[in-house]
């Protein structure tokens, strides 16, 4: 147990207890104490780098297992359909998926339906893929198809033929000269699609236009706001789903727990979840205390 965690727990416990005592005594706690308390909770958690081991929920675990259970050398397509505003939430997911698939020696096809996704995709390749997997060879182990206009229309086309939409990859190399495309003609030759994104086109479009029609398993990663709208597709149309920072954090913990090589990897989502979890606990404590205070006061009035 670190000093930081102990300090924070003592702080939160003490604070909650104090507010509880005040409330039970029938004194309304000044909201400034509540403000100070929630602010300090988040600040402490950040300052002491507090993090909790997230255990994957079934829906995230299912995504993890899907990649885990593919045979070595399977073809996996990752779509980066997001913009910088969504990056903090879904960026960590992209890093995880790249790490996991390459560690499993799958072949990676990277593409994006968002103009703004292009730069983010390149960043991920430069910052994660190249330094961590120097052995991965372009054209044999991964390929960057880049961005094409057309939204779900692009999906429609690549469902029957990659070359019709992408005569070349993002660097202008003809697809036919890339070894990865020897056996891959269309999306139907892909073993798994991972769609990362929170807008339109995004996971929903991949499910409707590729998953349903081509019968290809899809794993999704989205911003938290969109996730509830996608739950109805799980587990039949979506094999697994990562919702927001929490989903990303769960995946990070699965990865660090199962792979020695990722033990010390950067885990931005887990880092974000420390303050999140503590703040949630505090908010829940507030709801409970508020109700205890309310019932006490009603009892008193009853007498």
């Amino acid at each position: 147990m670190s000093v930081g965690l102990i300090t924070s727990v003592v702080f939160i416990g003490g604070g909650v207890l104090w507010i509880l005592v005040q409330s039970v005594k029938g004194r309304d706690v000044d909201r400034r104490w509540i403000f100070l308390f929630i602010g300090s909770t988040v600040a402490l958690a950040l300052l002491f780098h507090i993090r909790f081991g997230e255990k994957a929920t079934p829906i995230v675990k299912a995504a993890f297992n899907q990649i885990e259970n593919l045979p070595e050398g399977a073809s996996v397509l990752i779509a980066f359909d997001y913009d910088p505003a969504m990056e903090p939430e879904v960026g960590p997911m992209a890093d995880c998926f790249i790490r996991h698939t390459l560690a499993r020696k799958h072949k990676l096809f990277l593409m994006t339906l968002w103009a703004t996704g292009q730069a983010l995709m390149t960043n991920t390749v430069e910052d994660v893929l190249k330094p961590e997997f120097p052995e991965a060879e372009y054209g044999t182990d991964y390929v960057n198809l880049g961005y094409k206009v057309g939204g779900f229309g692009v999906i429609n086309v690549v469902l029957s033929d990659f070359r019709a939409m992408y005569p070349t990859d993002a660097h202008g190399t003809l697809l036919d000269s890339l070894p990865m495309f020897n056996k891959v003609r269309s999306l139907r030759d892909i073993d798994l699609i991972i769609s990362i994104g929170g807008g339109t086109p995004g996971v929903k479009e991949w499910v409707l236009f590729a998953g349903n029609r081509g019968n290809i398993p899809i794993v999704g990663g989205t911003a938290a706001v969109v996730a509830p709208l996608l739950y109805p597709y799980y587990p039949r149309q979506l094999v697994g789903l990562l919702g927001g920072t929490k989903g990303a954090a769960e995946y990070e913990s699965e990865l660090t727990g199962n792979y020695d090589r990722f033990k010390d990897m950067d885990t931005p989502a887990l880092r974000m979840m420390g303050p999140q979890t503590m703040a949630h606990v505090v908010v829940m404590a507030f709801i409970i205390i508020g109700n205890i205070a309310y019932f006490r006061s009603r009892k008193r009035e009853g007498k």
Binding site: R31, R32, V42, A43, L47, G244, T245, M272, H280
Partner: protein, 278 residues
């Protein structure tokens, strides 16, 4: 209570001292930021040091509102209002007037603003004329004529939204509710022999659909205006309001995470970008 800030007399010595302390703290921050800066030139370091310090000062000024209204918040608020109002006006001028209107109205102006001329369009002149009419508001006698552009806009809004809402919020939502009440039905025998309360089991999934259908119906009953909510109708309306309450509670709970992220973002800015202690 925060409401009880009372009638403090004119700025006391304490307030002055606080002002001085704050000024000194941020001055020190500026100097230290400027001296530890990484930019190429001293001038850039001084500038960036100031900008970061100023942004931190504004951030803390807004946070100080949580304690009480105070001169720092007032300063930040007034600065925010002035700067942002001008920001939007400039954007409106450059993107709409120069970006859309000028390329359709005048070759000379297009050349002046260095935007490619497109083609003359009478429509833009009409819009321009109505814009001028709106400004008649400034004249006491002709103010009433300014209602014309408002009438055009409100007419457009009413007409267009009528069909659009009926399409996306009425037809589509009614259509989305068409779902079987039994999921994956393979006969009663199969249903009962596999009965379980598993989250992905047939019973729970079917119950979900029942709740959606009954919930939508009862929710609609709640909104009925011209029928007294009594008897069966009253019961349905009561169930309707419960469903609405679950909706509100669930949305509230779900949003908390996003809101905390915002705070994490600001505190990270203060700790990392400004104080460099993370």
């Amino acid at each position: 209570m925060a409401t009880g800030n009372g009638n403090r007399k004119s700025p006391s010595n304490a307030v002055k001292i606080i002002l001085v302390i704050v000024a000194v703290v941020f001055l020190i921050s500026w100097i230290s930021k400027a001296t530890t800066g990484m930019a190429d030139s001293t001038w850039l370091n001084i500038r960036d040091g100031f900008l970061i310090t100023f942004a931190a000062f504004l951030t803390l000024s807004i946070f100080s509102f949580l304690y009480n209204d105070n001169p720092f918040y007032k300063f930040a608020e007034h600065l925010y209002v002035g700067v942002s109002a001008a920001y939007w006006m400039c954007l409106g001028f450059w993107s709409i007037i120069v970006g859309n209107f000028v390329p359709h109205a005048s070759k000379t102006l297009s050349t002046f603003f260095k935007v490619p001329f497109q083609e003359y369009s009478w429509f833009y002149y009409v819009a321009f004329a109505f814009g001028v009419i709106l400004l008649m508001r400034l004249l006491p006698k002709a103010g009433w004529i300014a209602r014309w552009p408002l009438a055009v806009i409100i007419g457009t809004t009413a007409g267009f939204n009528l069909s659009r809402y009926l399409h996306s919020d009425f037809m589509s939502q009614v259509g989305n509710t068409f779902q079987p009440l039994f999921v994956d039905w393979q006969g009663a025998g199969h249903f009962f022999s596999n009965l379980s309360l598993a989250a992905d089991g047939q019973l729970v999934m079917s119950a979900g659909n029942w709740i959606v259908v009954v919930g939508v119906l009862c929710g609609l009953v709640y909104f009925f205006f011209s029928k007294e909510h009594k008897g069966m109708f009253g019961a349905a309306s009561r169930l309707g309001i419960w469903i609405l309450m679950i909706t509100f509670g669930a949305s509230f709970g779900y949003t908390v995470m996003g809101r905390i992220s915002l705070l994490v973002g600001r505190i990270t800015f203060l700790f990392d970008d400004w104080l460099s202690i993370l």
